[in-house]
């Protein structure tokens, strides 16, 4: 079991088990309670198949531009990003208690507790994303004109990758490193290629990129995590019960404010997302090869369809768009997200768009009618209030007049204690 220095640096990692790896930061005494470590270990879940030469390196996050740690295994050429799994409820104190089974390979790890309940998961990461800023940066201002881009070699692109800590170049130069090959393959997938003798020259191609992104999205859409499914698919397409609107016999579900809210990370403007929509539906006609699944994969999903009119196709389109938005907003540099969106075939999401616009219209109508209802009620109540107020005012006025026309004697008699005095009608009969 490998020990990992949690704090950055080329750690001496060789994680060969899915098991957790801990770093022992401070030496501990057997007899006394060890002082709290200033650099406490962190808990990682690392992939099994990494070699001992795998390293955690710091690279610039292609999306946010901040230094981010990645796990890189030179021998397999695979990249991993770290996802921090935080406890859902921060108010409940949690921590890790670690103990290890005896292993012949490695000395048993000392049992310990870790105060921080965080867990870091290494998940596979497409190094293509690392290349993207370098690939497309140069041309970001010139509007996606493929012709104007230059053909460059892989090395040229790699040089463009920010390498402040020299981690990246180090990893490239490790013996047995397959990284360069992997990168080249990824690079090739989004670029036009020209071979000049032995040299291969690449020129980024946006339509290829969007194809790849879209295929990633559709792959992701096949298996959305339940939380996302709930929040962005079900809720977004769900129609609230509209008992209120009686004049609309077939009440099509007003969508919750889906169109733009469907994913918080969604950077896409509505119009942009409209344009993406084509890819899935018309995939048959779209030349893009990458758009593999759309229609077919959508079919099996309808079980989730809310009782109303959202068709299975619409639902899967919504899934696709959610996934796409997620990818665009978490992995691609902002400027690229827009480019990708705009380069999508324009009819991809038309069906979904139509549905959503219909729904939003209905929803506003429903909201309006509900408002009318509320306002109507309010108005009625106001009128009632007015009437009551009017009456009250009248009564008060009358009372005032009455009071003004009441003599002092009458007022004083009102205070007299008449207990024990029978009414005169008890003595005198009515005439």
């Amino acid at each position: 079991m490998a020990r990992t220095r949690s704090k950055g640096g080329p750690a001496s990692t060789s994680a060969d088990k899915t098991a957790s790896t801990t770093a022992k930061a401070a030496s501990t005494s057997t007899y006394t309670l060890p002082a709290e470590s200033t650099n406490p270990p962190k808990l990682f879940v690392l992939p099994k198949n990494t070699s001992s030469s795998a390293r955690i390196i710091t690279l610039e996050n292609p999306r946010y531009g901040n230094p981010t740690r990645y796990l890189v295994c030179p021998e397999t050429g695979s990249f991993y990003e770290f996802t921090k799994a935080a406890p859902p409820n921060k108010s409940t104190p949690r921590s890790w208690l670690l103990s290890s089974e005896k292993s012949e390979k490695e000395p048993a790890l000392e049992s310990q507790t870790i105060q921080s309940p965080d867990l870091y998961l290494a998940t596979p990461y497409d190094p293509l994303f690392l290349l993207l800023p370098a690939l497309f940066k140069s041309s970001s201002n010139s509007k996606s004109d493929n012709q104007q881009r230059q053909y460059l070699s892989l090395d040229d692109y790699l040089d463009l990758i920010p390498n402040t800590d020299r981690h990246f170049s180090e990893i490239l130069t490790l013996p047995n490193s397959r990284i360069e090959k992997v990168l080249e393959a990824r690079l090739a997938s989004v670029c036009d290629l020209v071979e000049m003798g032995d040299d291969k020259m690449y020129r980024p191609n946006e339509s290829k990129l969007s194809t790849i992104i879209l295929s990633k999205a559709s792959k992701m859409a096949e298996n959305l995590p339940p939380s996302m499914e709930e929040k962005f698919i079900k809720k977004a397409l769900e129609a609230p019960v509209m008992g209120v609107v009686k004049d609309q016999p077939p009440p099509p579900p007003p969508p919750p404010p889906t169109t733009s809210t469907s994913s918080p990370e969604e950077t896409a403007s509505p119009s942009a997302s409209e344009s993406q929509s084509t890819v899935t539906t018309s995939s048959g006609t779209t030349p893009s090869t990458a758009v593999t699944t759309p229609a077919t994969e959508e079919a099996p999903e309808p079980a989730f369809a809310p009782a109303i009119t959202a068709s299975p196709a619409t639902i899967s389109l919504q899934r696709l768009r959610t996934s796409l938005n997620f990818i665009l907003s978490s992995y691609l540099p902002p400027f690229l997200s827009k480019t990708v969106l705009s380069s999508l075939p324009s009819e991809t999401f038309t069906e979904l768009e139509e549905y959503l616009t219909k729904l939003s219209k209905l929803r506003t109508e429903a909201a309006a009618s509900r408002n009318i209802d509320i306002n109507g009620g309010k108005r009625a109540r106001d009128e009632d209030d007015d009437e009551r107020l009017e009456k009250k005012r009248k009564m008060e006025q009358e009372e005032k007049v009455k009071k003004a026309n009441t003599s002092r004697g009458v007022k004083q008699l009102a205070k007299v204690n008449t207990a024990g005095m029978m009414k005169l009608s008890a003595f005198f009969k009515k005439a």
Partner: protein, 259 residues
């Protein structure tokens, strides 16, 4: 059509003054025999009954029965404009909206005329039977007024106890008690100061002083006041007027222990 003229406004003024402290609005029922009024106070424990017979007016003319619903406070305000010795004329149509009052100061040849808006008043009318009272006390109205005022200092209620020897007004309150006893007394030279007691059986009843002091506002109407008592019937306080007209007050006795 009503037309009734009083030689002096004073009578009407005093009557209305006394009534207005007991009731707020009431009907003046006018017919050919005169102008009558009956009303109860808000608590319905006291009743005022006024009868101004046609003979009290000169002239008096009333073709039909007319009910003049009047707010007495308003009427008082109008009557304030009348001098004590002015002649007062009441006029009303058969189905009147207003009561027309004319005050004439004969000495100054001054005529003032007022229209008082009338109102519809629903009033229940009680039939008051002729009662043989166990005790009838006649006394100067000023004396009665003084007694009620004096005893108000002691308590809110007064016990009137009529025996052969005399009539005793007594009150017991927080600060102590007090009583005034009047004996029969018939001075020949001052008939107004006569105290007369007609008694068939002794009687003692307790009444609210506040109501009695209110009744006493009618004191200017008459020099003598007549108190009529019987066990377990309302006290009658009568201010008799010339020609059989009267202003009577009835007050329910307090039954049971006082607080």
């Amino acid at each position: 059509m009503l037309e009734a003229r009083l030689d002096t406004a004073n009578l009407f003024k005093s009557a209305v003054d006394a009534i207005k402290d007991l009731v707020q609005d009431c009907n003046f029922d006018c017919n050919d025999s005169g102008i009558a009024l009956q009303a109860m106070d808000n608590s319905h424990v006291a009743l005022v009954s006024m009868m101004l017979k046609a003979e009290a007016f000169s002239p008096f003319r009333c073709d039909r029965n007319i009910a003049l619903g009047v707010n007495l406070t308003s009427l008082t305000k109008v009557l304030r404009a009348a001098g004590r010795d002015d002649t007062l004329t009441l006029k009303a149509e058969d189905a009147p909206d207003v009561l027309n009052l004319v005050f004439e100061a004969t000495a100054q040849d001054r005529i003032s005329e007022y229209d008082l808006k009338l109102m519809d008043i629903d009033q229940e009318h009680l039939g008051i039977p002729d009662t043989e009272y166990a005790a009838t006390i006649s006394m100067p109205s000023a004396e009665f007024k003084r007694i009620t005022t004096d005893l108000m200092a002691m308590s809110e209620s007064v016990t009137i106890e009529a025996t052969k020897d005399g009539v005793k007004f007594s009150s017991t309150g927080d600060i102590g008690n007090g009583s005034i006893t009047l004996r029969q007394h018939t001075p020949v030279d001052k008939p107004n100061e006569t105290v007369e007691i007609e008694l068939s059986e002794p009687v003692a009843l307790t009444f609210s002083l506040k109501y009695l002091t209110n009744f006493c506002k009618a004191q200017p109407l008459s020099n003598q006041v007549k108190l009529c008592l019987s066990a377990e019937v309302p006290l009658m306080v009568e201010y008799g007027l010339e020609g059989g007209s009267y202003l009577r007050f009835y007050l329910a006795p307090k039954i049971g222990d006082e607080e």
